[in-house]
Symmetry: C2
Subunit: 689 residues, 2 copies
């Protein structure tokens, strides 16, 4: 979808302008003028003659030629009925504000279906419906009913909520440089969706960072590809709602859109290199830093402060987020002393310049510490104390930032005294803040993003398994007949798919059991065989570490006593780290794999990491390392390091199985015993649709 | 310590006033006048005649009578030398600003020792040194060198950092009602410490909430008692730095004060009913709500919003903090429809009033939903959209809050358009906010505090164990000779202290082993006996589930092969939940107990909860429930519910052992097998000083 003309039209017709200052038709017309659009602008309303000093035309026909963009400020039914006329006039780019479409359900949904059909028939590009339009500050185009003229800056904001757009404008309107390249409202995404807009903004030179507010994603498979390609070009920061079940409920009622499993969204964002914000001001913090081009160069932070206590509070938060405080070298210490008579100064990082620090003290400390090579970013804390030279210190920082290439984040705290300094910082495109609260998490996420960007691995193509005969046979016999494959069937399918399984046999008598054990060798594990009991351990249907014939006999009698049958399953006793692995099918994003800590406390610990298939081995390893599984990766309590390559290959095999058989809705392997060799599936289940 | 006269003096002498507007001696003099102090005020400086329109006296003697408070705006040595003269004049209340005392080390520490000696000799009450003074807004007293006159309000703020005080004043100075009753700077706490100030503010009627910024606590045992008594009278919110090791390092260099184990601090605060804030604005959020007297009545929250997306983002955060969204009853739904023609409204909570919500819509929705009985608090979100009636909606909320007793928190987001509404809210003492980011966590902590306040249990008195003969014998033989008791000794001590232990015997030959097992009964556990190997499992020195004589023989040979000796330890094989328990001695707060999930992954999971001894059984149970141990409390995977009473008694027994023997620095019990009976110590160690 080429959106260049849509968002950079040379001519715009606003249909349904109004002289009622509270109506959308008035607000849009006014915004077009106030933002300073220099192209051809037409106002249409058969009942009006003039508006805001411009002649109003009766219909689109009166323009006498096609316009690049038609903005429909009319009710839903009218909008729908106008499409024929617009088509007749050669108009293909349509912006529809009206609600009462899909989000309203019933008649509205029918209306949206009709809109879609017409748009496809006529080859129209539609923004909305149920949206608030867009702003292009470079082109001085504002076809929204936002309250204020939009401030210009480097943020390309794609929003699935009009209110978030209004809110952002209200925050930004008094600011300098901190503003939009584009603001684009998604609405119901009938035609134009978030992936189209990502593609568009990825190549827009004025957009330094793409910001998104999302409630859902329209086409998961496409979104994954577009997002991954976009983040290679510029950072993408996403605020997404519906992270909890209660949240999801509200999201459904809000836009009529289904919200997928939220952890899957997080996983998709992360694997595609986007950054997810959780809080509103964390979001704004990242947007300010990225749009000013001041991302941290690494997680090594230097702090200067005129308030020791606040420096420590900030340090606590930074360390919680796994950022590091730069160690100050002897050389730099000497330099600080030369520059500012340092006997009063604390040389620990955070450097406490003490409450009476002057602008001159700050200058000396900044210039000295910036010589430290290993700095990723500098945070300069200032609290307004009795003799604090606020404006002068701001000037000192601005001039240091012009000279040095390491990003500086001034945190000038307070309300009454520090306002002017923040204006100066914005003029200089230095991201400054009134509090340190959001900075640690924002920086941690930006540093993780930088590390992601350095990686050159690309996910392998999604791979369809060449169907193995045994898999095929088991699946054929089960499909449509049972809700899941039993243990023997599941293990057979795993094995045929390339996953190692523990040697195991089902026997129907004690004699058969003895013969099997003769081949497997003691010690063994015995399990009940039952198609009805799903949690074997809860009925004490598993006996481990059976070591001799006596125990074998007793155990056989005990287990067959539970089921009332004659069968038991016997397996070799395995050792290693007890993990769980599995897959699930997400309706939007396809196959999702998980790996976690297993054992009887698995569900209690819930230490699990997700992957969206396909994923590279590097991604797999890096994500494992961010969890407690990292203890196994390194070797835990005298155990050998985990064979992560073999684990990756096994999880890939499970994913390929999912891709090959759409009838499989999920796979559980628990326990998955992993040591230095390939991981071995000891128990598990294939769940069918 | 009676501080009433200190903080409400009828007469004040400021010694060392200055006409240099940058000096402390000038700033304090000016603040005294500007804040409007109506008592007797004396300025002292032999080199000055007049200052700020007041006559300056040459010395304290010239006053001719004792003053209630002497404020020393002079260097450290001068301050020290003035004490004799002040004593001679009958002055007992002294405020010292000067630094270069304990915090500077060396000479400074000696100076502080001299100060302490003099103060004790003369019976003086000293605030500081190295502090910035205090403000009492009711008494119009401001003996600080803060930059602005302090705003008055319900916050009693005790600060171990002058900068935090300056910062708070800078935030609050433009606000109405949101301000201090008292601001008191702690400084080096030579005489007056945080416990004294807690006691003072606990009974001050103007103080609605006590806020503290702390880096350490001077006397842990006293602090625990005073804090617990204070929180029964009014809420105490604490911001404490030094939560990480890097943080601690900086705290040491900052004020020369040692920072204890930070988790212990959190535990003390919680058990004593105080609330710990982690972020600066979370702190401010709680102070605003408490000082306006609008704490949430329960965790059941109602949300009204004109921005569905923002409502969902807020909901996500609330649910993460385990708060609940009120379900709207049919009755109230009908009421909403009657009030405002509700067909467009979403009846899910959060209630989405849609972007064009007018003040009238808000009014209808507020009045209807406030009829819902089960509401703990109402959050009203407003984003400034095209036709949003901001001031009118603020008026609607103010009038609703006057009528209803449920607290309302308006979150009017934005910057440009919403400022005036927040002024109105402060006039009405309604806690309003510019963003929702800090509200969920702040409310969750306040709700937890309310639940704590409802509890009537009091911790039992710390109990000294009557020393059992066996404990005594074991301890006598070990003290000064070894760093810890071995397993047999430890189990013996546990047993004699009242903790159940697994039957276990040390044997020196296979024959002895067979005799022991004949008494204990199969299955058994065998362990190596060694005073040098500390981690038995890491050398594979433990064999569990030994079931017969064959295995016994093999295991004996294997284990003695590891140690080279003839001894092994044999125990009955136990079953139950595998927990860990233990104690440690904190230098400031005394005996700390811990309980956590055990097993081989214990250190990986690190699910542990701490208790400061003494603690009630209710406290014990409530804290267990906030962790993953709650799964055991309820019964996990078909297991029986945990006998929490027996576990409590056992942990108490370990604590009493610590109290009885100061030479014990810590106790580990791992595993502690717990089921329906009393928990059984299977392995463990008593660590000596």
């Amino acid at each position: 979808m080429d959106l260049h003309t849509f968002f950079n039209p040379a001519s715009i017709a606003v249909i349904g302008v109004s002289d009622n200052t509270k109506k959308v038709g008035y607000l849009v017309a006014k915004n077009c003028i106030d933002q300073g659009f220099a192209g051809e602008l037409y106002f249409i309303n058969p009942k009006l003659q003039n508006l805001l000093g411009k002649r109003v035309l009766a219909s689109v026909k009166d323009i006498g030629k096609p316009v690049d963009l038609a903005v429909l400020a009319v009710p839903a039914d009218v909008a729908l009925s106008l499409l024929d006329e617009l088509h007749a006039q050669g108009v293909t780019n349509i912006l529809i504000f009206a609600a009462q479409f899909k989000e309203a359900g019933g008649e509205g949904a029918k209306r949206e279906k009709m809109l879609l059909d017409k748009a496809h028939e006529y080859g129209m590009t539609v923004q909305g419906p149920n949206c608030i339009g867009f702003v292009n500050t470079t082109g001085k185009i504002n076809v929204t009913f936002l309250k204020h003229v939009s401030p210009s800056g480097g943020i390309g904001f794609i929003s699935q909520s009009g209110a978030l757009g209004s809110l952002m404008v209200d925050y930004l309107v008094g600011h300098k440089n901190f503003g939009f390249s584009y603001f684009i409202s998604l609405g119901n995404k009938s035609i134009m969706d978030e992936s189209d807009l990502l593609e568009f903004l990825a190549d827009d030179p004025a957009t330094k960072v793409i910001a998104m507010y999302l409630e859902d994603v329209k086409n998961g498979e496409r979104f994954k590809k577009v997002l991954a390609a976009t983040t290679r070009k510029k950072p993408v920061v996403i605020l997404k709602s519906g992270t909890t079940s209660e949240g999801s409920k509200a999201a459904v009622s809000h836009t009529g859109s289904m919200v997928g499993d939220d952890r899957v969204y997080s996983c998709v964002f992360e694997q595609c290199g986007a950054i997810r914000a959780e809080q509103f001001f964390e979001f704004m913090t990242m947007l300010k830093i990225y749009s000013f081009g001041r991302a941290p160069l690494s997680g090594d932070i230097m702090i200067l402060s005129n308030a020791g206590g606040v420096g420590v509070l900030l340090t606590d938060q930074l360390v919680k987020e796994k950022l590091r405080l730069v160690t100050i070298t002897e050389e730099v210490k000497k330099d600080i002393i030369v520059h500012m008579g340092g006997e009063k100064i604390s040389f620990h990082n955070p450097i406490d310049l003490l409450g009476d620090a002057s602008a001159f003290h700050y200058k000396g400390a900044i210039e000295s510490t910036l010589k430290e090579k290993n700095i990723g970013a500098v945070i300069i804390l200032l609290t307004p104390q009795a003799n604090t030279e606020i404006e002068e210190t701001a000037q000192v920082i601005a001039s240091a930032q012009r000279e040095f290439n390491k990003p500086i984040y001034p945190v000038f705290m307070g309300e009454k005294s520090v306002g002017e300094s923040h204006v100066l910082f914005e003029q200089e495109q230095i991201p400054s803040f009134f509090t340190y609260d959001f900075l640690p998490r924002a920086l941690a996420k930006m540093v993780a993003h930088r590390e992601y960007m350095v990686r050159t691995d690309v996910p392998p193509d999604a791979d369809v398994m060449s169907v193995d005969g045994e898999v095929s046979a088991v699946m054929q016999s089960a499909l449509g007949k049972k809700p899941y494959l039993n243990l023997t069937e599941s293990l057979a399918v795993f094995k045929a798919s390339g996953v190692a399984v523990t040697p195991s046999v089902i026997v129907s008598s004690l004699d058969e059991l003895r013969q099997a054990v003769a081949k497997i060798g003691f010690p063994v594990v015995l399990k009940i065989v039952s198609d009805t009991i799903t949690h074997k351990t809860e009925v004490k249907g598993v006996i481990t570490n059976v070591k001799d014939d006596d125990e074998l006999t007793r155990s056989y009698k005990y287990l067959t006593g539970i089921t009332g049958g004659s069968q038991v399953l016997v397996q070799q006793q395995m050792s290693g780290y007890e993990l769980i692995a599995g897959t699930k099918r997400d309706s939007n994003f396809g196959t999702i794999a998980i790996v976690g800590i297993g054992g009887i406390y698995a569900e209690l610990i819930h230490e699990v990491v997700e992957f969206v298939y396909p994923f590279s081995e590097t991604t797999f390893l890096e994500k494992l390392k961010t969890t407690k599984l990292n203890a196994f990766v390194k070797g835990f309590r005298g155990g050998k390091p985990l064979n992560t390559h073999a684990l990756y290959e096994s999880v890939q095999a499970l994913c390929r199985l999912m891709v090959a058989y759409p009838a499989i809705s999920g796979i559980d392997v628990n326990p998955f015993m992993v040591a230095t060799d390939a991981p071995v599936a000891v128990d598990g289940r294939v769940i069918l649709t």
